[in-house]
Point group: C2
Chain length 721, copies 2
């Protein structure tokens, strides 16, 4: 690089004079008053008019084109580099880095998690995420981060709704909607003491350590406040098509997918006034923003070029449809951030898209559990609950034959609630949500279940990160599933060898939004009429507040694959008599459903009360606030039985519904079952769990719990699941 300090300094001085003059002419000194901090401390406000110190001539096209064509790191705004190469010094070891992201809705919440995974993979610093979210994203991300327990990551939430009035007056045509515009109000929305922040769009992926990006703050001159990468398309040149009228920008303008913000300086410079005035003025002649906040940032920068520090292009490699990014990445040995800034996202036409997609897929499918890794070098406050968890885990004895059970019980699974778009059901007093849990090998049940149950469902899925993506594609490819907005899918990420069946049920149960829930299992198909019939029965019987009852849905099973589902109780009874159907587990474990009294059910015209007995595990409809499942039962065995014991102990009436039924379909035994049923220690461990369950039961219910003791001391049938 040629030495150019002297001529630039002269040129800058000349430009400064020119711009000061212009500034006075245009604004009469009203705007751009910056409070300078002599010696780094807040001093007496020293005000000078007009735009800040310009480092870039307003028409810098030629030089910017050179930056795109050649040296990927050097824009014309870069100050002279030292001989040590293009790397700025790393930020102080263990410095807390702040990142702000605006995120709204189900789909963006999934996107942001991929971004966060890529960031965490490479980071070596503690991070503080500032998330501006709508209610949907907040519910998802709060649960996710709470259960993710990543060390050295703090998360703060900000209400997007409260920021809406500040930007809703701006007409906007960009697909990001109102939320894109919210980046403009971050200087006032984020805490006043926060001086610097990296602002990211949800559609970027890191391919490097974010501290290298943070380190670029050190390149800012005393007056620069916004770090941006040049736009890698010709959009702002205004010659894409006839009558294409983009917002004003310096040359190609800047892309706002990745921003370094000196919040302190922006606040001092009167940023809020600044962008509003610019936007209002431009909107006199332009109908709306096309690219949301980016149009306004560019218009402000065109007026105040001294605000901007150009970042090396590798920090925002833009994969829009007609991107010029190749000029950047074909020279750079090191891509830092990839930006999927086409509405087509991964389906964008780009001859190298496979290359970039591989980066994205890496983190999309990456096991987020692996990011729960300490930063040894930077001791930090452990995430809430992490210390107790560590202690509990440390107390386990690896030689204990039930070690795997104990460990699995303590495992905190990462949970992504409402993984896919979901519309909560309208509030209806007797509505029922079907609650169940499944893993990948039962996905093919979902379509049939949707046909049998037209009402809301809350389903917990036990998946790896990669499987969650397969699941997403599965739903998108199924017209039956894609049409249903009332089915909420909650992904619980796999961890550990035992299936956490009751933890899954509790996740699905906690997310049910109707007053009643039907606690089912995924391999059962309910009678076509069951949803309507249950709502009618709930209304008639009055569950819940004034009657603590559990409505029993009698369970049947078929051993055949091809099977014509009965449309009525009459048809069902015919099949039962023909030997095509059986009562559930009739051959292996009749005790599980014996108290339902199938003989009485055949004749029954009205609901009838039955008594609890050992091993009873009917499928029931209960109020949403029913007792939770006991999460100590992991793997297979006693998980539902214990729940019914708890219902009985809490004096729920058990009422069998005369027209209700549900039918179990055959399936190959799951891997989890076959793995553990054959294990000789399995039953011993299950007995230990049952003993502990009974101790807790006695603690809560006193002598009343004695009733359950014999049931708890029976050996477990090996064939049960």
């Amino acid at each position: 690089m040629l030495p150019r300090g002297r001529p630039r300094a002269l040129g800058a001085a000349a430009l400064l004079l020119l711009l000061l003059l212009l500034g006075f002419l245009l604004f009469g000194g009203d705007l751009g008053c910056e409070r300078r901090e002599p010696g780094g401390r807040a001093g007496a406000p020293g005000c000078f008019p007009g735009p800040l110190m310009p480092r870039v001539p307003p028409d810098g096209r030629l030089r910017r084109a050179a930056a795109l064509d050649g040296d990927p790191g050097a824009g014309p705004g870069d100050h002279n580099r030292s001989d040590c190469g293009p790397q700025p010094p790393p930020p102080p070891k263990c410095e807390l880095l702040h990142v702000a992201i605006v995120c709204a809705g189900h789909n963006s919440s999934r996107d942001v998690i991929t971004l966060v995974k890529s960031m965490l993979f490479y980071r070596k610093n503690p991070l503080h995420l500032h998330l501006v979210t709508d209610a949907v994203a907040r519910n998802i991300l709060e649960t996710l981060f709470h259960t993710w327990m990543v060390p050295a990551v703090r998360v703060s939430f900000y209400h997007a709704d409260q920021l809406k009035p500040q930007v809703s007056w701006i007409p906007n045509k960009h697909y990001s909607g109102l939320y894109g515009l919210m980046k403009l109000v971050l200087p006032s929305a984020l805490p006043a003491e926060l001086a610097r922040v990296i602002v990211l769009d949800t559609d970027v992926t890191f391919a490097s350590d974010i501290s290298e990006l943070w380190a670029l703050f050190a390149h800012f001159s005393d007056t620069q406040a916004i770090g941006l990468v040049e736009n890698q398309s010709d959009w702002y040149l205004g010659n894409l098509w006839k009558n294409h009228r983009p917002w004003p920008a310096l040359g190609r303008g800047f892309n706002t997918g990745v921003i370094l913000l000196r919040l302190d300086r922006l606040r001092q410079a009167g940023w809020e006034q600044m962008w509003r005035l610019t936007a209002r003025r431009e909107l006199l002649s332009l109908p709306a923003t096309s690219l949301a906040d980016q149009d306004i940032f560019n218009a402000v920068i065109k007026e105040h070029p001294g605000l901007v520090q150009r970042l090396p292009c590798v920090w925002n490699v833009q994969l829009s449809d007609h991107t010029l990014a190749e000029r950047c990445y074909s020279e750079a040995s090191d891509l830092k951030v990839i930006h999927w800034n086409s509405p087509k996202k991964l389906r964008v036409k780009n001859k190298h898209v496979e290359f970039f997609r591989n980066f994205y897929l890496t983190f999309l499918e990456y096991d987020g559990n692996l990011l729960r890794r300490e930063l040894f070098v930077c001791p930090s406050q452990p995430p809430p609950g992490a210390e107790q968890l560590q202690q509990a885990l440390a107390q386990l004895d690896e030689e204990d034959p039930c070690f795997e059970f104990r460990q699995q019980q303590l495992t905190v699974h990462r949970v992504h609630v409402t993984f896919l778009p979901h519309e909560p059901p309208p509030p209806r007093p007797h509505d029922v949500t079907l609650v169940a849990q499944l893993s990948m090998d039962r996905l093919q049940m979902l379509e049939a279940l949707c046909r049998h149950w037209p009402g809301p469902m809350s389903l917990a899925l036990y998946l790896t990160d990669a499987e969650a993506q397969q699941f997403l594609h599965f739903v998108e490819a199924s017209p039956v599933l894609a049409a249903r907005q009332d089915v909420a899918y909650h992904v619980v990420y796999r961890e550990g060898p035992l299936y956490p069946v009751n933890q899954l049920r509790n996740v699905a149960l906690a997310q049910a939004l109707t007053p009643y829930v039907f606690l089912s299992d995924i391999d059962f198909l309910p009678a076509y009429s069951l949803y309507d019939y249950l709502r009618a029965s709930i209304e008639q019987l009055g569950l819940g507040s004034w009657r603590k009852a559990a409505l029993v849905v009698p369970a049947f099973e078929t051993l055949r694959y091809r099977f014509s589902f009965p449309h009525s109780k009459v048809e069902l009874l015919a099949l039962l008599d023909a030997g095509t159907l059986y009562t559930f587990r009739y051959h292996e474990w009749p005790r599980g459903h014996a108290p339902t009294d199938y003989a009485r059910w055949r004749e029954a015209q009205a609901p009838y009360r039955v008594q609890w007995a050992a091993d009873y595990e009917p499928y029931v409809v209960v109020p949403r606030d029913c007792p939770r499942y006991d999460p100590r039962f992991v793997g297979f065995g006693w998980n539902k039985v214990a729940h019914i014991v708890e219902l009985d102990a809490q004096e729920y009436e058990l009422l069998v519904l005369p027209e209700a039924f549900t039918i179990h379909l055959p399936h190959a035994p799951s891997l989890d079952i076959s793995r553990f049923r054959s294990s000789p220690t399995y039953r011993d461990c299950l007995q230990a769990l049952k003993d502990e369950f009974h101790q807790d039961l006695s603690r809560h219910h006193g002598a009343a719990a004695l009733k359950y003791l014999p049931a708890l001391q029976q050996p477990q049938s090996p064939a049960r699941g």
Copy 2:
């Protein structure tokens, strides 16, 4: 860091004198003759006696301990750093980096792939891998790299067997066996023109770009030839237990899991002589090496300390049982290479093992397909076949409704043959291998299959990288599966939306090692006696060279889960008569097996010949060199039918065996099936495939192919798989 150039130079000069003297006393000038290259070019050999220029005092304990305790980058051998920080300059852009790895057997082959994945993930340079392998590893890795098609990676293989005589005379107690010692002979085994190489153990994982490691060659003085990280345990201090007598080493010695070798200098310095003499001498008083090559490297270095350049500890963070590595990694912000150098590997006791395990699991489970990414910046020769593949893919029309089929057909799947330890069956003239393919959802069939088929099997598994690990654990946890060494599992890595059923069959078929194969499907269980019966029948009938025949194994099915498998044809016929069993697809698609003529089979006492008819798809036993399956049939449909057409076109006799049978067990339809059967374009695309198949058939068999035309023009039954 204090300036210490002057005192060190003085100390080094004094030491040099001392060592020159010692060298003369010990070797009389025979050894350590180095050919120096004045001005970097090979000149007249300038010989000087004794060890090379020492940079480290022979007893450097104190200073080395300081290195372990403090600055993670700086060992006492480091030359002064510039002010630019600890990073050496990167190697010239696009420089080809050479890596040598010794790898033998099934388990090490799996390990080395994880290492290679981590290396490829971070690398930005073209790589040349030099793999010293036994026959097993070579077969695995050659197939793997050939099908992996990673751009800018070249692989050369070297025969470990040929190197054995050079090291087999050394008694060795280390778990790496003879292969560990082979690192010693790399200077002569690798091509003479190769000057520098990074040597890696199979149990290391990269957490950074290997070019940074390569760049450390620049730190070598003119005489240094071996770059090593200090040993992070007290082993070589010789005080671990009473009478603990390790091999001689400088202080803590060095770990040889990661080595930078200047092969040129070692060759010139007479390395081969050097290490042999040292080893022979030490073996006079020591019974064997305990740590294989590492003992010998350390003994040589103790004698010739000038050979060694100390590398920063982060380049070989050693997780042995009583490691001192924490002193290194707790200070370093950046770990570069993790070394699982305990025989316990991931189960090593280390309070931070979770942290390191997460790195390892990242690459263990990483989708290797994502590493097929170009190095834009460094244009390179594409891997063999890649260019044609790219062209073929580029010619596909994304708007073609059968685009997914076309793309899937062209997909080259990464293949890992004999994923688990496997003993080839002893050569027997009439032996039969059961050939089948499966994905994760059929894993639970394997145990039953092993009980039914006591002979060799060759099974292709269609899995993701993460599923391959689950599969590994599944086999390890099953006593039935773990006991079988004659079952070869070949992992074909998933890519694309359609199940490549015939490609999988061909992988399994190609790996069968017996003269005959039984072409089965995973959801069938053969009669218990079938393996013996087939071998006897093959002997009697004389398949293969003098009789081109396909032996038909009649197929049946049960629709019931719980089912008692018949032990004889008599029992089978009784179940058939009782309606518990049916002939296969009796209800949905009797044409598929009608030509088998079940009525005749009931009575048959001897094999009988049957004629091909449309849609016939029996399960057959054929010689191993039978026609391959047509890989164009992806997804479900016509995949077996086409194979039988090909057999018939090649004039194989179809002989039904009177005592043979196999029974299909029920299972839920796989996801792949349900996804595509419902698609309306699916049948159209299948018809297009059939048309193309027939064109090829006509091309090969001429007018004889006309016979099959009507069959190919029939619509496909929707219920078939």
